[in-house]
Amino acid sequence: MSETDTTFGDYGGQYVPEALMPAIEELTDAYERYVLGNEDGFMDEFRERIREFGGRPIPLQRADNLSERYDRDIYLKREDLLHGGAHKLNNALGQGLLAKYMGKERIIAETGAGQHGTATAMAAAHLDMPCEIYMGRRDVNRQRPNVFRMRLNGAELNPVDIGRGTLKEAISETMRDWATTVENTHYVIGSIVGPAPFPAMVRDFHRIISEETRRQAREQYGRLPDSVVACAGGGSNTMGIFADFVTDSPFSTAEDSNTAADADVSLFAVEAGGSSLDVDEKRGVAPNSASLSTGSEGVLHGARTKLLQDTDGQIMESHSVSSGLDYAGVGPELAKLVDDDRVTPVNVDDDAALEAFHRLSQEEGIIPALETAHALAFLETDAELGEFVVVNVSGRGDKDLQAALEETEQRDLPNAPSMGVFDE
């Protein structure tokens, strides 16, 4: 994508109220200068902070027990180890710092699972900026620990009572705040969604995942992986780890630049299949969040992309056992890469994700986020993954303990641990 292009093929664009356009122009300018141009050493400062505050580089770990199970070399990119417990901090810190460089006085953000909200709250405290987070009421209830964390970090939390009270509503409400406060406020959007330049900018803050993975794969395995697997809600962890496998990076050095062989790296974006891929047009409900697999082109939250919508174009309620994937849209860049057959969209259902949650916890000693569990569940596939597979462990499951236990109790999973000890 050229620096001034706002689209990814037919996708992307800037479908926002005129009131926001000047801020978006200003942001585009800042993105080009600071992020792409490293003006005033912005990217150097970002990289230093994400290293010291965030804990990068993050290891690429061979999962011995999964490797044995699947008879392939399974490596885990351990974004769960990033400060806050998910990849989200890459972007939150990047945008927070950019807002500071732009002279903004306040940041706002939406959150679904609460991971982007906690990451933003942490970054805001670290950067000493006031911060307000919007979160759907339903998510406030199912991600309680993250709600506490945001408050502890000093962020204001605004529960959103509209609609079903999930990520979709939280984004809309944050846009409304922004439309009111745009002059002194930056909206730290939490995935590769929204109007340009957000999708490209958020990807570029997460690109460091891909950079590290390429280097580590070469150092530890002697070559690039055969496949890279990541879950996709909005798609930020997805594009974060895919970025440098898809196209040349503005940051990659000649030595590390992409070769023809990279096209051999298969990229799998694993969406939430929820309880079923079927939709209920009448009630406007999709019992899944698989917009890449089953959605159609449309315009939502500032961008043209693939969406879950009815024939009129009304946005459907999405559903997933994991709050962070529970969204009716997806990043426009991913939509484009799917159309181009560069990224393969796949999906796994709630049950399979929960099973994978328990599997990684028991077999590898890593409790993944329910979002991440979707990527892990895909390893059970028959698809051609090759010998050397990298899975992006986008986050840890501490936030999900309660939800995972409740959802597990409602099912008959083959590998659920008994929790009887608590009844004593």
Partner: protein, 273 residues
């Protein structure tokens, strides 16, 4: 290139442009309410086609949209509604781009615009469609003789303003303040500043966002506006009637009476200008 019906609305004194969401709180009552606007003196009516993610609306209009969708509003029903509507006032369809984009067999705005024109719609306001993304809809509107009204915000700088004026037809929607729709107690000082800035442009300027009472209408028209746009203050009446189960005629009468107050305020303002 602009729509004669809408042009006409601005020839004879300040234009009063009320907004309601079609189908709020249900199809039949909504027909009555929209007709009440006409009786109240509407020169143009902005008729909302409800979209599930109305990012530019405050809680009042969000409420209208929820009520309308829940009572079964769809795009097809909206066109039926327009057809059935018995008013002699130009209609501007206010909606979000995805509904326009999805309509018909191929994606893109043309099928929707064609159908809108056939049904008697005279123009569009699309809050999530800035100049940057407007070309396809602008073209379709031109082809079918419909106006496309752009919103000018307090944050719009001069370069953008030139561009918006050149793209807009019918009138300019002057956003009175930052934020989302919703009735307010006062007239924003941003409004006067905006109108001053716009004075040189030769296109009708209608001010919206927050106008609630006759005196606001008066002050805004006195400040140089060619029209006033009022939504949330009217929707509030419907919401109250709905909550209290008031008879439809009673609510319709209240709507008509507020419209009359606003029309009168606007007229008064025109005399002061």
């Amino acid at each position: 290139m602009s729509n004669p019906a809408i042009d006409a609305a601005f020839t004879d004194g300040p234009a009063f442009i009320p907004y309601l969401a079609a189908g709020d709180p249900d199809y039949d009552a909504s027909l009555e309410y929209v007709e009440a606007l006409a009786r109240g003196g509407a020169d143009v009516i902005e008729l909302g086609l409800p979209f599930s993610e109305p990012i530019a609306e405050g809680s009042t209009i969000q409420g209208a949209i929820v009520r309308s969708l829940q009572s079964g509003m769809t795009v097809d029903r909206y066109f039926e509604f327009v057809t059935e509507l018995d008013v002699d006032v130009p209609l501007v369809c206010m909606t979000y781009y995805n509904l326009i984009y999805q309509y018909g067999n191929e994606p893109g705005p043309e099928p929707f615009v064609e159908q809108a024109a056939a049904t008697g719609i005279d123009g569009f306001v699309v809050p999530d469609l800035p100049a940057e993304e407007a070309d396809p809809l602008r073209e379709a509107c031109d082809e079918h003789g419909l106006d496309l009204v752009f919103i000018v915000a307090p944050t719009t700088d001069d370069d953008r303003l030139d561009r918006l004026v050149s793209l807009s037809s019918g009138y300019l929607y002057v956003q009175a303040r930052l934020g989302v729709t919703g009735a307010r107690e006062d007239v924003s000082t941003q409004t006067t500043a905006s109108l001053d800035r716009l004075a040189e442009y030769d296109i009708p300027k209608s001010v919206g966002f927050g106008i609630k009472a006759g005196e606001h209408a008066r002050d805004i028209v006195a400040g140089g506006a060619d029209g006033i746009i009022v939504g949330s203050a009217l929707v509030d009446i419907i919401a109250d009637g709905y909550e209290s189960d008031a008879p439809v005629e009673e609510t319709a009468a209240e709507l008509e009476s507020l419209c009359k107050e606003l029309t009168a305020g606007a007229l008064e303002g025109a005399q002061q200008h």
